[in-house]
Point group: D2
Chain length 402, copies 4
């Protein structure tokens, strides 16, 4: 292989720990017994996915000992390494709201990771601790309406200018996940020294959540995807997260783990849809035989199984790379790009086939797979659209030949 090629770390580590497998089994049981009934109320009966419900679910998760798989031990989390997270989050993801119940859902999971990396002691006490405990929710305000930063973070237009004792932030953000009801928002803004992250409290009069955008994935997120305006928003110096000018570096620290967490959870939902589909076609007949005996239905199940196993295998390998090389390493970023692209598309295919296997009932939300499909659509876009990821993968493949 030519020098400078795609990073391929040793892969000499272990796969999953025994204790993580046990925890995953416990998590799956918790989801089945305590979360699935609530999920049905939300999807079918229209029960609102609000903070009251979130707190109720998280309380149950704490009692079941499955709360906080992504959080550090010192903040009440389970302190798993990435490889062990994989099996636990897959179990959590078997419900649309499972990761939320365990406090390992976006954007809080990534923000916990980010704060653990970059927050000072006071910030950790004030922001990380209640977030890891599930007492509050958070948001990260990165994406902007055109011509600001979308898939290309280099186009950042929100600014922060120094003012006596602090900074004044101005700019428009949108698709800010979870902003409605968040206790604080991590705002990325351009300063003279480069992009910088700021911790902005919800009651800051300079920040306004304008509206929840009418996105397809409205079930799984209690705080929506919002338009947020920063208008003469003053924050003190103590609101700077980490160092001024290092906002993009911190974003990188957050990125690979965040992409991979999504993969783990959505894979769980794919396995659930596969089970629903297998059960459905095993019970229903058409053209003189159970649907499960028709070859094209079997083909869908097999393709699902292949997509699920390939996703699981890629996640395991990427997790090992992150654990071995660090979340912001070149290898971690490359593997996370490859994995996120494949898994987001594989999950979509699995859910789509599960709908098809349900026949006419597949598009009725009370059979759940319809809702799963719709909720999953954004996964191929957020945290890097497939097209942008493919472009970055190709550039890395090409590097040694320049």
């Amino acid at each position: 292989m030519p020098a400078g090629a795609v990073p391929r770390p040793p892969q000499t580590g272990r796969m999953v720990s025994t204790s993580a497998l046990e925890l995953a089994a416990r998590t799956r049981r918790f989801i089945s017994e305590q979360v699935l009934p609530v999920e049905r109320e939300i999807v079918v009966d229209g029960r609102p996915m609000d903070d009251a419900l979130r707190l109720e679910l998280q309380k149950a998760a704490k009692e079941a000992g499955v709360f906080g798989p992504l959080s550090p031990v010192e903040h009440g989390g389970l302190g798993l390494d990435t490889r062990d997270q994989a099996v636990v989050l897959e179990a959590a993801g078997t419900s649309l709201i499972g990761p939320l119940a365990l406090n390992c859902w976006a954007p809080d999971d990534g923000n916990i990771h980010l704060l653990a990396h970059a927050a000072n002691a006071e910030q950790a006490r004030r922001y990380l601790a209640p977030l890891a405990a599930g007492e509050v929710r958070s948001a990260i305000a990165m994406t902007e309406p055109a011509p600001g930063a979308g898939a290309d973070p280099g186009m950042l237009r929100t600014t922060a200018e120094e003012a006596p004792g602090g900074w004044v932030i101005n700019g428009a953000k949108h698709l800010t996940t979870g902003a409605d009801g968040a206790a604080f928002v991590i705002c990325v803004a351009r300063t003279d020294d480069g992009p910088t992250m700021f911790l902005v409290d919800a009651d800051n009069p300079g920040m306004r959540v304008l509206r929840r955008m009418p996105t397809l994935d409205h079930t799984s997120a209690p705080g929506g995807h919002c338009e947020v305006a920063f208008s003469g928003c003053f924050v003190p110096d103590s609101a700077v997260l980490g160092e001024v000018g290092l906002g993009m570096e911190y974003a990188q620290v957050r990125l690979a783990p965040s992409r991979l967490s999504f993969c783990m959870s959505w894979l769980g939902l794919a396995t659930r849809a596969q089970e629903l589909a297998a059960r459905h076609i095993s019970r229903r007949e058409a053209f003189g035989a159970r649907i499960a005996e028709h070859g094209l239905a079997q083909g869908h199940l097999a393709d699902n199984e292949i997509d699920i196993e390939a996703s699981r295998a890629l996640i395991a390998r990427c997790a090992e790379v992150i654990d071995a090389e660090g979340p912001a390493s070149s290898a971690a970023r490359h593997h996370a790009s490859v994995t996120k692209t494949f898994v987001s598309e594989a999950v979509w295919r699995v859910l789509d086939r599960a709908v098809q296997l349900h026949g006419g009932l597949g598009v009725c939300e009370d059979h759940l797979v319809a809702r799963f499909l719709v909720e999953a659509r954004a996964f191929r876009i957020y945290e890097g659209p497939s097209e942008v990821l493919r472009w970055s993968i190709a550039r890395r493949v090409l590097r040694p030949y320049r």
Copy 2:
């Protein structure tokens, strides 16, 4: 080619008439000017798609001279043959609610076709005339919950038994499109002489619309997809549509044109999504260039264009076959199966790529393509799921080799 092979009629006819192209242009103008603003109100502002709105739109269509492209001239329709319908319905379909405005949307379009074929004079006066005029809506109750008739009509369980002066219908139906608010329902029920169609008035006390099922495609249908119960439902002999025992033959008459009409309309929506996507990426930048200059975005546009053209070409060919051989001919059914399978999947791909090309905004319903995608999901299932159609296509391909 071996004897008995797939029917390939001569294809010696004309393509489209000049007058139909003119009508299509007029239709597209009508949609742009009068329907698109209403569509936006429905999708974005949540204006209900009810009968009041339907009547308002249809009134406008009448004034614009574009009402009734699928209806017979003697009932106020435009009397187009299938080839000419293709270009007009594609134009109508550029809005989700365009076909409804023109009174050429399911299930009324197929029911008009069916009644024109099978109704006697009195039935035509009482049911076909007001339906073709848009004064009322209708439904057709075919699909049943398990273990009844789904994709396999042979599993029909709803029964009709002779009673003095008429028939008594018992059974459960679901996914009955448009039943909520329909003036009458065409119910397919099993009699001693075979499946038979009955015209059941909405106020028949033996028929109850139990609920609208929570399907993904809630925007485009004013009457929903419903569960309907027939319980000791008495209808007089005059309610028999056509002849007793010929229900499946009539369903065949209805089927190929109905499948093809869906293809035409949904193709229109695909062309609209392609325009929205092309416009979007021409205006927005990322990574130092307009998105329209990035190769993978161009690839999506080109794949869309190929899918659109192939769909259009297949529809044109199938329409010619229907016009030449009749809607219930073996050739028409084969070509409609091929065309419906391809077009339903191609439309899905086009809409999905259009979402992807919109980036994060692609999953926001106020950019419309998100709603288009969700509404279109059922198209790969209703009027024959792709898997069942592939099976029937293969059997026809294999016939000469048995």
Copy 3:
């Protein structure tokens, strides 16, 4: 639709003429009875595909009245318009060597078309007449080794400089189809006034066929794909085809019809492979049933049928556009790009599935489909690789939004 959009000509013409359908039937009979036995000798027994065999086949075609479907009547051809060519060439293409037998195979078919457009009377007498009669073969030398013209004709490096009484050509060409044994080569070279086409006789001492390149498609081409060197190659002024500087315009005249002819012929081969596969799986059993009864095998057959019908429909539409708007029109070029991209990929899929349906025998050349697949691989590359075509399609789609 915005102004400047993708050209969509009226499509108001007829489809196919009755006489063409009759000719197609005759052609298919001729192929079955007289060409298929020879094809088997070539593929299975290794009989060389040389000019002796070509002349033998063409003699038979003349006697059967099916010779020259692409040639003008005044040169002994059948003078079909493009729509009628479609059905005849599809019939001819049911054998790998069928189009050669009918004298409608590359590069001679395109060269006949080109010469009919651009040759003067003397050139027509000397080059077009014997070519249309099948007395000689020809080649067109366009593609060059890097850094010359490949998919991008703008990179042309072969030069022609004026000399007393004529021109001196220097440069290297490769992938020159049919050059080995061709009576003349049409060489595209750069002059001060732009790219120009020159007729170079095979015995010109300045032109040398260096070697046949070891390409995958060695069965269907008697003259191979060659490396050709032009070294101080003098040609008289009378060797200029058409006007100096118009070489690219003439190439455009040739391009859309040439792309479409390939589509027609290869579609024929796809239909043949489908028949071979359907017959094979109808005769062979596995796992307790004929393979034809297994769902995934049926799925392949159905997908083949859909690909075949969509290809046929796109070809028909594109042919109508060429007939209505002319072969070098913007509409013809766009539709030929769309059609060539789809059909070349669809044919590949069909042949690949036919191989798969043959199981282990599918990769044995004596079952023919293996050879078909290998021969077809280049079709997705020559006359415009799919990637370049997609790029050009997208640019046309985007034009109105600039």
Copy 4:
């Protein structure tokens, strides 16, 4: 997860050993320096791939210390477990003839595995020892012409009847890989007690290799894929491999490892093709930029990278399952089915895209990728066609719902 579901073993093991990574690096160096030049002679210059060449390559491999990665240590092999084999065979597979050079290519690799499992001491001495040493080649005669055993081993028709002192075998086999020139053939035949494996020496007068079948993959196999006739073929009792009636059990022991070895080697070839393609497009220009800068070319590279990484990850996981659960375990068989289906199709896509990225030169065998593609076609069929594997995968998925 319901009881009886798809087997998902713990995945608590290690990934790859450090020593295996070192051996893989050495192997890749050996291939680059000593095998690639010979590969080029074979593909481009037509040097025959015969036993003389095989012995020459294997001698070099022994000297480089990379010979026998699949063979037991006691027979001169490297004695790797399956996880470690993965990285070594991927390195070996970077040349079409690399696995042959290392003596880990079909059918010998599987036969070594089979003999190590089932041979008695005398058989091991006489057959396994020289085979593991590379002194001889072998074959396994399983597949039969219709109506015998193809993908369905249950259709076995070759018989072995008891005779004084031994057995008499009668039947026809085909696609018997490596039979031409093999020192012995393992013949699977039906006895009264069930399918049984027999060791048949090449000089047995009752066995005749009728011909090499004209398969597409003629480069990589020195002994071809042959038709073999057994006619009154007497073998002594000592020729029974293992126990009478256990032939299918032994075939199972051989199957999962054999499928996985193919995956490892072919993955290596895919990585090679990717490097060739990346290099090619980095050097060549079109339309004003290096091809490597065109988005659709980058898309192909990225898709290749994703397919390669997913294949590698699936192989690693399947190898761990085989090591943990045994090669004939239900878990191993399921994972091998999933992995073989995905990898065989992924490798095909990678090679196909590599051809496409080479443009016109992609179909010239002297650029190698053309030959790679053709050689790889059978991989989607042998050792279980994708369709049969999908069917078996689906049945396992469905098991708990019966």
